[in-house]
Every structure is written in C-alpha cells, then in structure tokens.
C-alpha cells in the first residue's frame, strides 16, 4: 500500500492565507448565510490540520482542502436546514438589493447541487476546469457540460422571474 504523502502545516497555512476569501465565499454560497462562512472555513481547516497526514498526495493539496471545505459547508447547511425546519423563521426583503438577492438565491437554489458547486467554484473561487474536476472528482468534460447547463438553467430561471 502506498504511503500517504501527508500535508505539512506550512502548506496548509499558505493555502489558508492565500485563498481564505475564496473559501469563505464558496462556503457562504453553499450554506446560504454570509455570517456562517468564517465558522465553516475554520472548522474545515481544523479538520484538515488534524487529518493532514492522511493526504495521499495523488492529487493537488488544493483540491483535497476544497473537498474538506465543501463537506464542512454541506454539514453546516444541513444543520441550518434542520434549525429552520424547527423554528421556521421567515425573512422578507427590506430593500431593492435584498429583493434582487433573494431572486438570485431562489434561482440558484433550484439548480442541482453539482451545478451549484461548479458555479461557485468557477466564479467565487476562480478555479479552472481542471481544478474543479479534481475537487469534485469528475472529468474536465463533465465540468464544462455542467457549467453550460448551469448557465442555461440560471438564465432561464432569472428570465422567468424578471419578465
């Protein structure tokens, strides 16, 4: 069995400091709450630091960390969803920009999860197709097709709303 390469604290810290804003942005998009982003990314990096020796090294460290961030964000989203089910708070838009944001949020929420993740990684993290493919363990071609489908579906949803 091949020995895990492991990730050093130096590598993880460098990645954290270089891409923290992007990790937070993607996390906020997945959870649906901006104020959750910091906790999600911190939790993800705590997991990464604890598990650093299990990093196999058969792919980029960035992709390994992105997967951890995505999983932490999904966990947070699931917890938030359960809390909302229990308390059922209803927020109403307070101004025009909030209204637009809610329209976009509703449209994005209607996309399949893979399309959402590809969109977020492409636009919020500025990852190229190869990096997205490595992060989501899919092929480059699947990334391209998923992104095209997400664009088309998002335009359609927003057009329907704003007509």
């Amino acid at each position: 069995m091949a020995k895990a390469r492991g990730a050093s604290l130096v590598e993880l810290r460098s990645l954290y400091e270089r891409r923290l804003g992007e990790f937070r942005r993607v996390a906020a998009a997945i959870v649906g709450r901006r104020d959750a982003a910091e906790d999600v990314v911190q939790e993800a990096f705590v997991r990464a630091v604890r598990a650093r020796e299990s990093f196999a090294g058969d792919g980029p460290l960035d992709a390994w960390v992105w997967r951890i961030v995505l999983n932490a964000a999904r966990d947070s989203r699931a917890r938030a969803s359960r809390a909302v089910d229990a308390e059922a708070p209803i927020e109403t838009p307070t101004d025009l920009s909030d209204g637009r944001r809610e329209v976009v949020r509703a449209a994005v929420e209607q996309l399949p999860e893979r399309q959402r993740l590809v969109l977020f990684l492409r636009y919020y993290a500025d990852l190229d197709y190869r990096s997205i493919a490595e992060t989501l363990s899919i092929s480059d071609g699947t990334v391209a097709a998923t992104l095209n489908a997400a664009h088309a579906r998002l335009r359609q949803l927003l057009t329907e709303v704003t007509l």
Partner: protein
C-alpha cells in the same frame, strides 16, 4: 428590476467578496497544536526547563548507578540554571534597569545557522531524506553580568515535508549552572508523528546542539540514556 449582464454579476449579487483576514493560530489551537506565537514566547524557558529536567533525571540515574560522585553534583548554592536566557520583548519600554534588547538574527547569523543545520549529519540521518522549511527563527542569547545581550546562536523551527517517526539518540543540552554554559548529552527517545523539529544552533562552536520534536509528536524515552562526556559547551 435591472437584470445583471452576466452570470458572474448575478453571482456577485448573491455573495459579495470576503477579505483574507483569518486566524490561523485559532485553527491550530482547536486542532490541538500550539501556535508558533505561543511557542515563541515560552520556547527558551521551556527548553531550559526541559533540559534541566532531563539532566536531573539522567544525573539521578547516574548517581544511583555510581557513575557520578555525589560531591560533583553539589555546588552548595542554588543552581543558576538559565545561563541561556530568552530575548527580552522588543516591545517592552526601555528602562535603566532593563537589559538591553537582543539583536535580531540577521546576516551573518541566519545564513550561518542555516548552513550548520543543513550540514549536520545527525539531523540528516534523522530526517532520512525529508526536506524542511524553516518556519521560525529566534535568537538564542546570553546575558552578561552587565546586562549586555549577546547572540549565542539560533533557535530554529523546521517544518518537515513528511511526518517523522524514529527511534534515535537526540542531541540535547543540559544547563548545569555550574559555570559551564551547557553540557551536551544524548537523549534516547522514540518519536512518533513529528511534523516539525526544533533545533538549537551554537554559532560560537558552529554546532547543532539540540534536536527536539514538536509538541504534537509523541515522544517516549528509551533505555540507555547516559551522559556524553565530550563536548562541553564553550
């Protein structure tokens, strides 16, 4: 409602950019690892204390087995263990009674410390092909009786490319307080999962004096610890 002109603008509306200001030390604390800042504040006192404990432990063992005469251990006064002292904080306000601040490691100290570390055969053997990055470097200083601070060497943290597990004698320093700066000893230990090593480099003798695993590593003392009679620090 004005429509955004692109998918990117649409998504910008949903989540605006974040800054890059984070708290890495908090992550390390939550992961159970001491942060570099915390370690740097306690590094030398802790190192001295640990070395003193190791020395006392080994001295007691040697005394029990008759390797050391009792009178050799008795100085008749309180031990002055920290011949090596931590650098004062540069942020402290200067006062007349306060010692002079320690100089920073620069040229030629830092290149020399790096070179001595890189060439040390014991360290190379322990690393067994691993590479390292120096993630922290603080001066190892000696304070003279008139409060002058002199650089003795460098205290370096080496972050390793791969975790290290080994059973090997580690060079260590025992601070005896008997007039010698320190005594070189060997500590036999089993190390598991060290991701960083701390080394003390004596720039006066151009030697790597101690090698210690980071706090996160599991260290078990092995039988066979004895004094190294050679190489008393100058």
């Amino acid at each position: 409602m004005n429509k955004p002109s692109s998918v990117a603008e649409t998504l910008d509306l949903l989540v605006e950019p974040f800054d890059n200001n984070g708290n890495w030390d908090q992550i390390l604390r939550r992961a159970g690892i001491a942060s570099p800042q915390v370690r740097s504040q306690v590094r030398l006192p802790r190192l001295i204390a640990l070395a003193a404990v190791v020395f006392c432990m080994l001295a007691a063992a040697a005394f029990a087995t008759g390797l050391i005469e009792p009178e050799l251990l008795s100085t008749g006064e309180d031990p002055e263990l920290p011949v090596v002292t931590p650098a004062p904080k540069l942020s402290d306000p200067p006062t007349q009674s306060r010692p002079a601040p320690a100089p920073n490691l620069g040229s030629p100290e830092m290149p020399a410390a790096k070179a001595i570390t890189a060439a040390d055969p014991t360290l190379r053997s322990i690393l067994d092909g691993r590479t390292y990055v120096i993630t922290e470097a603080v001066p190892w200083v000696n304070r003279t009786i008139d409060h002058q601070v002199q650089i003795v060497g460098a205290d370096l943290t080496l972050s390793l490319s791969e975790p290290l597990s080994t059973r090997t004698p580690l060079p260590a320093a025992a601070f005896t307080g008997s007039g010698e700066p320190y005594r070189k000893i060997k500590v036999y230990a089993a190390i598991e999962d060290a991701t960083a090593l701390t080394v003390l480099v004596d720039l006066r003798t151009a030697e790597l004096v101690t090698i210690r695993p980071d706090k996160a590593a599991k260290v078990t003392e092995l039988p066979g610890n004895t004094h190294d009679p050679e190489g008393v620090g100058k």
